[in-house]
Amino acid sequence: MIFAIAGRELRSLFLSPLAWSILAVVQLILAYMYLAQIDLFMQLAPRLPTLPAAPGITEIIAVPLLGNAAMILLLVVPLITMRLISDERRNQTLSLLLAAPISMTSIVVGKFVGVMSFLLIMLLMILLMPLALLLGGSLDFGVLAAATLGLFLLLASFAAVGLFMSSLTAQPTIAAISSFGVLLLLWILDWAGNNAAADAGPGNDVLAYLSILRHYEALLKGVFNSADVIYYLLFITLFLVLSIRRLDAERTQY
């Protein structure tokens, strides 16, 4: 059941030009950034051997690329998730799912899996760029794997927020702008913590800890801390459960 819903979701995405143009634009922008990083590496390359514990191409090219990808996808994921449920509500196709013998959980998880498969395709395409470096050098696969896992979890969190926002409204644009708002807010929560670093109170610590970016940064550095992974898993579960609750409530209040 879940895969039927996920499959249709993925199909609908690719039936509209939106998915294709998003893939193209993201790839284009990241490719430009990738080339800029390679340029930077070429400038640094002569001096690198003189440095103690010098960064390699993974640190100079792959990690910044994935870091930038996170920022761009923060803008892009809401555009992909905006139609998940709001469009069904608008076209009144939601009743098809509600009248079918499937639970709300399957519907929500199915939609989430559908959008995640799309994001996974995007992630693979992004990864092709650092992997291309293997042609002329070697990569630190540990760091790359941690950073990729981080980006994957980050994208899943974005998608979960987007799914929930989409379940709240019948207007895709409202879903997009509000999930973008929530994600950006969760991103910059960190700033309050950083600026007040001198007199860091417990409140600031909490804010910094809640920031969605903070946990990604650790993974980007290649530090695999299970607390960060659990943070994302909890985050995703929370928003999926909220979406299920929201759809259940749809029946009781109009």
Binding site: M1, A4, I5, R8, R11, S12, L15, S16, N91, Q92, T93, L94, S95, L96, L97, L98, A99, A100, P101, I102, S103, R251, T252, Y254
Partner: protein, 321 residues
Amino acid sequence: MSMDSLITVENLYRYYGELCAVHDLCFEVKRGEVLGFLGPNGAGKSTTMRIIGGNLAPSAGRVLINGIDILDRPTLAKAELGYLPESPPLYRDLTVDEYLAYCARINCIPRAQMRAAIDSARERCGLTEVGRRLIANLSKGFQQRVGIAQAIIHSPSVVLLDEPTVGLDPIQIREIRSLIREVANEHSVVLSTHILPEVQSVCDRVQIINRGRLVLNESIKQMRDKLQATTLLIALRNAPSMAELETVDGVASVEAVDGGRLRIAYVPDNDPSDRLVEQAVANGWGLYELTPERMTLEQVFVDITSSDAHGDVESAGDEAA
């Protein structure tokens, strides 16, 4: 509750804020029956259909599908249910075949039987020719058929159709009606509509709902008897006085209508036609026309729904019960 009632609705209430859309609704639908659900716009038909279809939770009351509570065990109950909402839930960017395959999958049809289920639904709804076309490019009548195909694809025991013929041209309406009759051979059907001839031509039983309350619940046969009106229309060349006509046994009242005719209302079960003819011959009234007046469903409908508007709700409701 008999084993054979596929839908049981018990004391159903539904409020939208202050507005009470459905008020204390109770009814049953038996196996193999086509129930016509009639009512003016805004009477609560669609709300009731959405509740039975599991799309809306009732404020109070229970709905049992084949004996399974739709709130307690929704997935089990919904497996027995096919629902076509007011606007068919179609994904316009899929082809008919893709859409039906998707519907088959979300309705938990085993993979081995999927092909057969899709083929049979497509054939029964006359969609074989358009299987590879995009739903968005189909005419409204065909889209409606796709909607019906979606509702019967998993051979549910109950099919709910919410105004299936709205917005179609007369030929399409006839086709959809014959399709509904065809569907009714194997499934119980609840058909909501505000088009009266539809009910007369398709349904076994009629329910009229007004302002959220059930005001009439009768089989079409009972309905027909009821439609046997208690008035005669007669025309006489040498009409006697009205008082003289009223003395004929069984005549309750006489009323002149235009065209020189007289409308004679009589006591039910005491048809005075024979006696009127005898008297007319005996007294030389010159009877040249005698027609029993037949009420149409439309009149019954208008009578019931407009009398309710004057606060006559309770008594009408009691009669129906």
